[in-house]
């Protein structure tokens, strides 16, 4: 890769150099994902989906005849192994583009590394809004939304469906995501409905095996709404324990990441709880579920894994779609057989692509604009687990902090009327 | 009247219900080697343990050269000039015999340069001499675990001597040494002690050793000094013959 960069740089220096790219044998991509550890609930489905989608893409001739080849790096092996492997993939493995990563912490580590290595990096799943708000990047892009629209969608959905609640408690995992997402949610809630009383804030340890004490306290506090942005085994445990002890009889749960737990939770998730998906990601996406492509992928995925999709599958599809779109656009715009890195980078500006959800566009600060889907759980017997009804899909552009603004500052400029100004597309189910 | 080197005043120690020392007042004069004899379990080792600070007495006090050392930990008592050799040798088993002595010498001389190798220290010749004195020069470079019980005993004493004490407490110095060597060892030991101006107190079961090498003998029985005197006075005393010596040496 070093050689490649050197070549690229040399080419760029020559007036005609930009046209001198040969078609490679394959387009090598490195993808970091959790194959081990708790977050493998997202990582493994994303990898499985990526394998299917890459196969499909290559079956149709790849990108301008060049097949895509993805190799995976385990984020679960720890930050040292991850950084060395990331570098190895770029410098030795010849990866032209990297997809990294799931963990926000890893994104924070790898984004500057990608910048230093001058390799194009798509942050394909991590949620932290800070990266582009704190620094400018030339090589790093995000092919999905960040935490701000994800949380705003949850707040607005809550206020639109249950405007009269008075008290709220939060039970989030004690790490960056749990804290950051609560910051955004609370800031927005205080702007939109200042009279809400926050009666409890709990941050049990990441991976906590038992929430009995928190649930006892919540039962004593009796909040109208309980928010939890937890995911994976933690969310499963919390919801199971809470539903078993009847906490949902009196409180409405807002679970912005529960789409990824629906199948595992089965009948444990009672109807009437608010569910989100970090984007418009749902295996019964109301706008997409009748599309042939969508349907065929869903059945392919279910055949291979035995499960329904979770949102990380959609994020993986968006990263791959962005790759395809960027290369195709660069090839068309420059009229070349294969684009140089500079041409691909140029193509990223304002790029629009569509994965399994609505189309996504890349903004000038490299942030993706992605729609948000929220719904309410229903146990209607179609599946052995909860499905969503009263679905709303929000336009991402309205909910994302404008370019150059810090999310929390921007949210503080909003008022209660913002909720009414937002008009999502609504679906019965 | 000169001040005694070591003096105990009304020393009492009880373990559970047993009184191992019962109001012991004992003076040890400089330059006179004192042997302590007595039946097993009479409290002889306990007495050495108290004098060296390992056990704190229930009542009473211990004075060394006039200073009250009763409450001092062993390491402080050592620096005052009281060294100790043990019935079961207490050595650094993974070090060689010579290293054991060198470590003792560096503990004595203080620790200055942290990067100066043990083997470069000035005390090396002095320590080899000590080993030679206790007949162990030939095993100087052998690791202690490989040595026989008798050799370890002698090295244990040499380590104590390396500290250049004024008083040396020894617990059965010749047990475990072959009988043929005992006299030879004691000969050397007593000579070395007097050369270095070290007074010794030793617990001993071998009456011929006591007879030959002690300047004074104290008979320990039932937690107190029953009798004290010169070896011939004490060893011929009928009570001592009955209670302590038995008919062994007869």
């Amino acid at each position: 890769m070093k050689k490649l960069i050197a070549t690229t740089a040399l080419c760029a220096a020559l007036p005609m150099g930009a046209f001198a790219q040969d078609k490679p044998d394959s387009l090598k991509v490195g993808m970091t994902t959790f194959l081990t550890g708790p977050a493998s609930v997202f990582g493994v489905p994303a990898r499985d989906a990526m394998d299917i989608m890459v196969q499909n893409l290559n079956d149709e001739g790849g990108i301008n005849g060049v097949p895509v080849e993805v190799s995976y790096i385990d984020e679960g092996a720890g930050a040292e192994a991850l950084t060395s492997e990331f570098r190895r993939a770029v410098e030795q493995g010849g990866a032209e583009v990297m997809f990294a990563s799931i963990s926000s912490g890893n994104c924070q580590t790898l984004a500057p590394l990608a910048e230093d290595l001058e390799v194009i990096n798509f942050m394909w799943d991590c949620g932290t809004q800070r990266i582009f708000e704190e620094a400018d990047y030339d090589y790093v892009f995000r092919t999905q939304a960040n935490a701000t629209p994800e949380m705003l969608a949850a707040v607005i959905y809550l206020l639109k469906t249950q405007p009269d609640f008075e008290t709220l408690a939060v039970v989030n995992q004690d790490y960056a995501w749990g804290r950051d997402s609560w910051d955004i949610f609370r800031t927005a809630l205080m702007q939109f409905k200042p009279d809400v009383e926050i009666v409890g804030e709990f941050f049990p340890a990441f991976g906590a095996p038992d929430y009995s004490t928190e649930i006892s306290r919540l039962q004593a506090l009796q909040p109208d709404v309980v928010l939890s942005t937890s995911w994976g085994g933690d969310l499963d445990t919390f919801v199971q324990q809470a539903s078993q002890r009847g906490l949902m009889n009196n409180s409405t749960f807002v679970l912005p990441l529960a789409e990824s737990s629906l199948e595992r939770l089965g009948s444990a998730l009672p109807p009437g709880q608010i569910v989100g998906a970090r984007g418009d990601h749902y295996f019964l996406h109301p706008e997409r579920r009748d599309d042939e492509d969508f349907k065929s992928f869903m059945s392919q995925y279910e055949d291979q894994t035995g499960n329904i999709t979770v949102y990380s599958v959609f994020h993986a599809s968006q990263a791959l779609a962005a790759l395809e779109a960027a290369y195709t656009k660069a090839i068309e715009e420059n009229g070349v057989e294969w684009p140089s890195q500079e041409q691909v980078l140029a193509a990223m500006d304002g790029l629009e692509f569509q994965g399994l959800g609505r189309p996504v566009t890349i903004r000038e600060d490299n942030q993706g604009i992605e729609a948000q889907l929220m719904g309410t759980s229903a146990q209607n017997g179609d599946y052995p687990f909860a499905t969503l009804e009263n679905i709303m899909i929000f336009d991402g552009a309205e909910l994302t902090a404008p370019v150059g603004e810090v999310s929390t500052d921007w949210i503080e400029t909003l008022g209660p009327e913002f909720v009414d100004e937002i008009e999502p597309t609504t679906f019965e189910n | 009247m000169t001040e005694p080197l070591l003096e105990t005043r009304d020393l009492v120690i009880r373990f559970g219900g047993v009184t191992a020392a019962d109001h012991v007042s004992l003076k040890i004069e400089a330059g006179r080697n004192l042997a302590i004899i007595g039946p097993n379990g009479a409290g002889k080792t306990t007495f050495l343990n108290i004098c060296s600070g390992w056990i704190k007495p229930s009542a009473g006090s211990v004075h060394f050269e006039g200073e009250d050392i009763t409450r001092l930990p062993p390491r402080k008592i050592v620096t005052r000039g009281v060294a100790r050799a043990f019935q079961i040798p207490q050595l650094f088993t993974e070090h060689t015999a010579l290293e054991n002595l060198l470590i003792a010498a560096s503990a004595r001389d203080g620790l200055r340069n942290p990067l100066r190798s043990m083997h470069g220290i000035d005390a090396r010749d002095e320590m080899m001499h000590l080993l030679d004195m206790v007949n162990c020069a030939d095993v100087a470079d052998r690791v202690v675990v490989e040595l026989s019980e008798g050799e370890r005993k002698l090295i244990d004493i040499a380590v104590a001597l390396a500290l250049k004490p004024r008083l040396l407490l020894m617990d059965e110095p010749t047990s475990g040494v072959a009988s043929s060597q005992k006299d030879e060892i004691m000969e050397i030991l007593i000579k070395a002690l007097s050369e270095a101006n070290v007074t010794s107190v030793f617990v001993e079961h071998d009456m011929s050793i006591v007879q030959t090498y002690a300047d004074e003998v104290a008979v320990w029985n039932a937690g107190n000094v029953q009798l004290r005197g010169t070896p011939s006075e004490v060893l011929e005393h009928p009570d001592v013959i009955r209670d302590v010596i038995g008919e062994e040496i007869a």
């Binding site: 040292e80 | 390491r75 050595l91 993974e94 043990m118 690791v143």
Partner: protein, 328 residues
């Protein structure tokens, strides 16, 4: 306790030929950026970890095992991160010194408590201290960044701003210099009177006391050294990696250090580095090529070493070398 776990105290010098071999090894390491540039970062991590492992090795020499030494590794790394964050443009040597001093200070504070304990309790108490620090790192998210940790920007080097490649090269050679220097220092320290007294804790504290030395103070001297060594390792790791996370302090990290120390040859300084290099290679390549079973491979590797080669890799190495010399 038998002496199988530790090599005999290194009071004698290795045969000249063996020393030559070690020198050749160092030269080979120094050539890595040119011969195999892609290994440079990996080796750099291994050297940083190796320094921490030497810290653990120091304690093994006194027969003690700490299951919490990642604490000092992590403290130093976090101090480095905090200093970088609060003093922009801080120099590398500034954070190296700050981190090492911080680790040594923490070693003094923790050491004053733990030197009273031996064996399992010593190990457990160290574990408890490290877990307290770990919990604090996770919990006080607004200060420590929680599980995501803190990013370290690249420090300047003697006032110069270096690019990534130059900085990494600098860091790499600094690591080699530190490894050789501190390794030499530790070996010398073992042979010194203070080091010798410290090591006697393993075999006979009673005699130590009767030499007029406080076993606790002797223990503290080694504990301080071990904490400082972990500190240097931690700061090297933090700057090489560019991020510090609470995982630096997690108990499995501490166990891993003991693991490497025994793997390399418990009690041997050179073994610690050899072990760290091998461990880092096995771990990285196993996690890349046998992602599902890399832990299992390492575990099995450790079992084989303990059961069949208690002298560790260095033991095998020296035995083979001695045999080779005998026949030639």
């Amino acid at each position: 306790m038998s002496s199988v776990t530790t090599t005999a105290p290194a009071t004698g010098s290795s045969p000249a030929a063996l020393s030559l071999l070690w020198i050749a090894g160092v030269v080979l390491l120094a050539a890595v950026p040119f011969l195999a540039p892609n290994l440079q970062l990996l080796v750099n991590f291994a050297l940083a970890k190796g320094l921490a492992v030497v810290g653990v090795t120091v304690l093994l020499r006194a027969g003690q095992v700490s299951f919490g030494h990642a604490l000092f590794f992590g403290i130093s790394a976090y101090i480095g991160a905090f200093v970088m964050a609060s003093v922009p443009g801080m120099d590398f040597f500034g954070i190296l010194i700050a981190g090492t001093l911080g680790a040594a200070l923490a070693g003094l504070v923790v050491g004053l408590f733990v030197v009273r304990y031996r064996g399992i309790f010593f190990g457990m108490l160290n574990l408890a201290f490290s877990m307290i620090f770990w919990s604090i790192l996770e919990k006080f998210y607004h200060i420590t960044g929680g599980a995501d940790g803190i990013r370290l920007t690249r420090p300047t080097v003697l006032g110069m701003e270096l690019g990534r490649d130059a900085f990494e090269l600098f860091l790499y050679y600094t690591a080699i210099v530190l490894v050789v220097g501190l390794g030499w220092f530790t070996i010398r320290w073992f042979a010194s009177p203070v080091g010798q007294l410290f090591q006697t804790i393993k075999t006979n504290e009673t005699r130590l006391e009767y030499l007029g030395i406080s076993p606790r103070r002797a223990m503290l001297s080694g504990y301080l050294l071990s904490a400082a060594l972990c500190g240097v390792g931690g700061i090297l790791m933090a700057t090489a990696q560019g991020v510090v996370t609470p995982e630096y302090v997690w108990w499995v990290r501490s166990a891993e250090m003991v693991f490497i120390a025994v793997l390399g040859g418990a009690g041997s300084v050179r073994g610690a580095f050899l072990g760290a290099l091998i461990y880092e290679f096995v771990r990285t390549y196993a996690s890349a090529y046998a992602g599902d079973v890399w832990q299992m491979l390492l575990g099995a590797f450790l079992l084989v070493i303990i059961l069949f080669a208690p002298g560790g890799i260095i033991g095998i190495f020296e035995r083979v070398f001695a045999r080779g010399k005998g026949t030639s």
